[in-house]
């Protein structure tokens, strides 16, 4: 039998759709949430609870829901969806969670019987011995029972971000949010109004409390207001958008569900994450009703009173025609009125307040409508088989009676929804009148209006708004608000009712989501966990997906009673973002998957692709790692071929990713002398030099080649990965330490595409390409450079080498880069010019004994350690890092030093990262640490020597030349016998370089 429909409801369409829940099909209306649809179909049992697998139903009508979490089977299988928020569409498939084999018969519910074991802190006290049992038996068991829903099998989101910069943000399009917005219409402020629901109106649509605003029926008033806002130029509205996060400096995050109530299009972004930067934030986000703990307050059929009312008014569904209503405050009477309007008569109205404190209108109304009235009474508990069947009432004389009913609607009062306000770091204070915390001092430009500010009186609302917004340039607005209830809110403290009847099954919950009972709280306090933060962590109270929205203040109430303290002394736990669980996909936005990190490509990139380059990531750059000559060629073969060919004739490398910095100014020389270890003073113009840059700690930071154009003008290169850091480092010292130096820096990395041609035939090739330049050794010696015009652009060629061969480095405008590269190949063809990648570059330089920063060095290596004493300008008074080189530890002679290593048996290969030891073999299981001298930093099979060559950083390396030692292997126990040699394996006399 479907539930009654409230025909007066304006917010739900008449269009019928089909939904599926646990395999069964039901009809629903467009605009329904899962919860309203299921209630419409009289479904009460929705899921099983987290720990005890108790049957659970729908407890609330909104984001605060602790129970009704379901899995959506379309939409890639979304777990833990709030049934009370998620809107249905035709064909949506929903299933319940945390049950096996079925919702009504769930094996896990045995936990409920075993519950004494699962009491507060049970993890810590049980499941320990005997030895090994934790790891093998208990832990796997506990883990299997963990969690709620299941993650999808695969998923890729297209959620996007939208940034806003505005003057005023209004959070909440309820009564006070709308009044504030109306005030701001036509002002100079750019305003954004955000509402989580698909309709504006808040309390006006969610309840029957307000009859008229400004003389108009509330529906009409909201409609008119929305129209005026939409017509205004300065206010925008975002609906279906939930503000989740309030960061510093008025930065807020809100999540918009673009497909609320619609089937998702997987090619579009289903979620938009709004990032809002505003000058003022107006929080008008209302209040949250709290529950009351009583025996079995979790049974399906227990639903908060105002939620029940919201289902009637907002969704047009009357979940039960004869509910029992249980309250401790004055506002619940509006639910009775909603029901009476539909000719439904509540089974009972139980009010815990003293009869004299209960409003006369309420008493009269109840008696006029013949509603059984229980003043000064409370619900002791309820019972039933997977649903409420009997409600036990304790009256003022402490007598317990029961009535039959299938729904029970408690109201424990309202909490101003201070979550966002405290996220903003605003301070709250306790208010005895409303028995809750409310905002006190704002930390940012934050204004709270309406019930979030603790103002529960409609009559005061406009006054409050006018006053709090008086600092804005907007005129006052005075609207009359006519209500259906008494305006003076009254409440009596009641957190938990006294329990009479006990059974194993009976429990009084404080946290429905995490299955924490009031007994757990008491037990934890008894065990000494009496700080609110300990209680939370020991019992897991308020740590569930709802973060205790309807219950956390209640737990403070209960705890304060036991500890005999004031609630304000107990204090709250910290409210942390997000306000409600926030989609990872939305947080990530589009900057993930293919756009996780930008890719940088050189101007030659497409040529590399065409020529079968395999790429390597270096920082954000894509660099050719090696070129595959054919499908079957392995990396090893390719690298051996490229290396051999380069030493035989010539090879070319795309070096465009190298950082380049132009340095100019009258103090450029002095500056360079301070930045690098080298001395540049005596260096001749138009020559270049290999240089090292240190940190103040004396450790090598970067290297590069410095071209000196004049004492006032230099060009420096940096490593590809180090470019931004080096540039920033130079700029920092110029601005902060040596502002008196007149020097300017420009990064010109992208302005010059760079090629390295090296090999014995390099000269012949460049000679053909640039026929106007004299490349002879006399005219163009090693470590000099020339600038010249190339197609009207300025190009530069430097004679330098990282391979140990004769080499030229060409710098050319990106405009002509590709055509020049192809031209070089045209001329290079006769010489079998080979393109090579970073791996071959590394191999070739290792043969020559050159270091790679970041491979031989690791942030703990000084220039002296790698035998670069010659690069230190000893006569220089100062340079960055100089002083650190003479500290007692950096000056030690037994530091790790750079050496070369070769295996004694030339057929053996040494792996990078292995360590040099003195022992011939290792025990199969190492129990006591084994001493080592250092590690292999680079290792290659040298095609030119035809055996393995390695570089290593080892203790007192310089003294160990010629020594025979061993190198470990990744898995085996037998070490490789090796000899320590000089790290320069090829051309130690530099003949190839300089001829």
């Amino acid at each position: 039998m479907p539930a009654l429909r409230n025909k007066n409801c304006n917010y739900i369409s008449k269009k019928e759709i089909k939904i599926t829940f646990d395999g069964k099909s039901y009809s629903a209306y467009e605009g329904d949430t899962i919860a309203s649809a299921l209630l419409r179909n009289n479904i009460r049992l929705i899921g099983r609870s987290f720990k005890y697998h108790r049957p659970r139903g729908i407890y609330t009508c909104g984001i605060e829901e602790p129970n009704a979490l379901v899995q959506i089977l379309n939409e890639h299988n979304e777990p833990n969806t709030r049934a009370t928020v998620k809107r249905v569409y035709d064909g949506i498939k929903i299933c319940s969670q945390n049950r096996w084999p079925s919702l009504s018969f769930d094996i896990g519910s045995i936990n409920n019987i075993l519950s004494p074991i699962f009491s507060a802190g049970f993890y810590y006290k049980t499941f320990m011995g005997p030895k090994g049992f934790w790891k093998k038996i208990y832990e796997p068991l506990i883990r299997r029972t963990a969690g709620l829903g299941k993650p999808p099998k695969n998923f890729r989101s297209k959620s996007i971000h939208q940034n806003h910069n505005i003057d005023i943000l209004i959070v909440g399009g309820g009564l006070s949010g709308l009044i504030a917005a109306r005030k701001l219409i036509g002002t100079d402020y750019e305003v954004l109004l955000i509402e989580q629901d698909s309709f504006l109106g808040g309390i006006l649509k969610n309840s029957n409390k307000v009859k008229k605003v400004d003389g108009k029926n509330v529906f009409e008033w909201v409609k008119e207001t929305e129209k005026l806002i939409l017509e205004s130029k300065n206010i925008k509205i975002l609906k279906n958008t939930l503000v989740t996060t309030y960061n510093f400096t008025n930065h807020l995050i809100a999540l918009e569900d673009k497909y609320a109530g619609k089937k998702i299009d997987i090619n579009k972004s289903e979620l938009i994450l709004h990032k809002i930067r505003t000058t003022h934030t107006i929080l008008a986000n209302g209040h949250i009703e709290r529950f009351i703990s009583f025996r079995n307050n979790d049974l399906p059929g227990v639903m908060l009173a105002s939620s029940f009312e919201k289902y009637i008014e907002r969704y047009g569904v009357v979940a039960d025609e004869k509910p029992v209503i249980f309250t401790n405050n004055s506002s619940t009477i509006s639910l009775v009125k909603s029901l009476i309007n539909l000719n439904c008569i509540p089974s009972a109205y139980i009010d815990s307040r003293k009869i004299d404190d209960i409003e006369n209108d309420t008493k009269e109304y109840l008696s006029k409508n013949n509603i059984p009235f229980y003043p000064e009474s409370e619900v002791e508990g309820c019972e039933g088989n997977k649903k409420v069947e009997k409600v036990y009432i304790r009256n003022s004389h402490n007598k317990i009676s029961f009535i039959n009913a299938s729904m029970l609607c408690p109201s424990g009062g309202f909490n101003p929804d201070i979550h966002l306000f405290t996220q903003s770091k605003g301070l709250v204070k306790w208010d005895d009148k409303i028995i809750s915390f409310k905002p006190d001092t704002a930390f940012q430009n934050t204004i709270t209006l309406g019930s979030v500010s603790g103002n529960y009186e409609f009559k005061n609302l406009c006054k409050e708004i006018n006053k709090k917004l008086s600092f804005l340039k907007a005129s006052d607005l005075n609207l009359e608000i006519e209500t259906n209830i008494r305006d003076d809110f009254s409440i009596k403290e009641l957190w938990e009712t006294k329990i009479n009847k006990m059974s194993k099954w009976s429990k009084s919950f404080i946290d429905l989501h995490n299955d924490v009972t009031t007994k757990d709280l008491k037990q934890a306090i008894n065990e000494g966990y009496d700080r609110i933060e300990h209680l939370k962590r020991y019992t897991t109270n308020s740590m569930g997906t709802d973060q205790g929205k309807i219950s956390s203040i209640n737990s403070l109430g209960i705890v304060s009673k036991i500890l005999n303290k004031k609630i304000s002394e107990v204090g709250t736990t910290t409210y942390r973002p997000p306000y409600a669980p926030l989609s990872f996909a939305a947080i990530a936005g589009r900057s993930t998957y293919e756009y996780y990190d930008p890719e940088r490509k050189t101007p030659i990139h497409n040529w590399h692709i065409k020529n079968n380059a395999v790429f390597e990531d270096v920082g954000q750059w894509k660099r050719p790692w090696y070129f595959k000559r054919n499908e079957t060629e392995t990396m090893h073969q390719a690298v051996q071929r490229e290396s051999r060919q380069t030493r035989k004739t010539a090879g070319i490398l795309d070096g465009s990713t190298l950082g380049k910095i132009e340095i100019k100014g009258k103090d450029a020389l002095e500056f360079m002398n301070l930045m690098y270890t080298n001395a540049f003073s005596k260096m001749k113009p138009m020559t270049s030099r290999y240089a090292l840059m240190l940190g103040e700690d004396g450790m090598i930071m970067d290297d590069g080649i410095i071209c000196k154009i004049s004492d006032k003008h230099f060009i420096a290169t940096t490593t590809s990965g180090g470019a931004p850091k080096v540039f920033a480092h130079m700029e920092e010292f110029l601005q902060t330490e040596w502002p008196h130096l007149q020097v300017y820096l420009n990064s010109i990395t992208e302005q010059f595409t760079t090629f390295n041609i090296s090999g014995p035939k390099a000269r012949e090739i460049v000679g053909k390409v640039f026929s106007e330049i004299d490349f002879s050794n006399e005219k163009f010696p090693f470590m000099t450079f020339k600038t010249f015009n190339y197609k009207n652009t300025q190009a530069r060629i430097m004679r330098a080498s990282f391979t140990g061969e004769l080499g030229y480095e060409i710098y050319i405008s990106p405009q002509y880069a590709l055509e020049l590269w192809e031209l070089i190949f045209k001329y290079g063809k006769d010489f079998d010019l080979v393109p090579y990648g970073t791996e071959t570059m590394h191999l070739l330089r290792a043969e020559k004994g050159y270091v790679v920063i970041g491979q031989e060095t690791d942030g703990t290596v000084t220039p002296i350690d790698i035998n670069f004493n010659w690069m230190i300008g000893k006569k220089k008074k100062d340079f960055i890092g100089k002083r650190s080189l003479t500290r007692s530890d950096t000056a030690r002679e037994d530091r790790k030093q750079l050496v070369g290593i070769v295996p004694l048996d030339k057929s053996q290969f040494i792996e990078e990262g292995q360590h040099i030891v003195e022992c011939e073999s290792l025990p199969s299981k190492i129990k006591k640490p084994i001493e080592y001298l250092g590690h292999i930093s680079s290792s290659y099979h040298s095609p030119n020597l035809n055996h393995c060559i390695s570089m290593a950083m080892i203790k007192s390396g310089n003294k160990l030349m010629g020594k025979k030692l061993f190198v470990s292997t990744p898995k085996g126990t037998k070490n490789i016998p090796i000899e320590i040699v000089s790290p320069v394996f090829i051309d130690p006399e530099n003949k190839r370089l300089t001829s």
């Binding site: 972004s269 050189t602 003008h713 302005q751 009207n792």
Partner: protein, 173 residues
Amino acid sequence: MTTLISTDTVNIIQKNFQQILIRGDGKDQFNQIINKEISLQPPSKNLEIKISDKYIFAKNSFDQWTLVYLIEQNYKEIIKTISSLNSNDEILASDYSYGQVYFEVSGENKDEFLNKLTQFDLRNKKFPDLSMAQTLIARIDCYIYKLNNKYIITCNKSYEDYFKERLVDLINL
């Protein structure tokens, strides 16, 4: 010049362009030298743009200016300008032509569109006409110039493909 995106509300075109990056102290002598070379007074206020039919001349930082050529020049001329600027010790001029890419974004929804990629405050009161800024767009460093009804965005050429993809991707979502 190619049209990258054209919709009812957003249009984006891309082109190759020439540009010089100038560093200096911005004082009298500096202004005279520049003025002599390109007969345009460098803007003196930070983030200010001066525009002629040939150039956008922007002060993009405390001691840094960019000169964007709106009409393609003979490259030789540009090189000449650069080297005569550089003949002064207190000026560093670097050729930035073709190492950057250039996008013109126009259309009614340009702000909303760009604010999907950047948090930068594009509102007139924070970012008036004829001003420029250096900021992050789509997570990379960009220059953005505001000219009446359009924005010009430039970024390093190595990011060209990435940046284009991000723009097109958004239009389709």
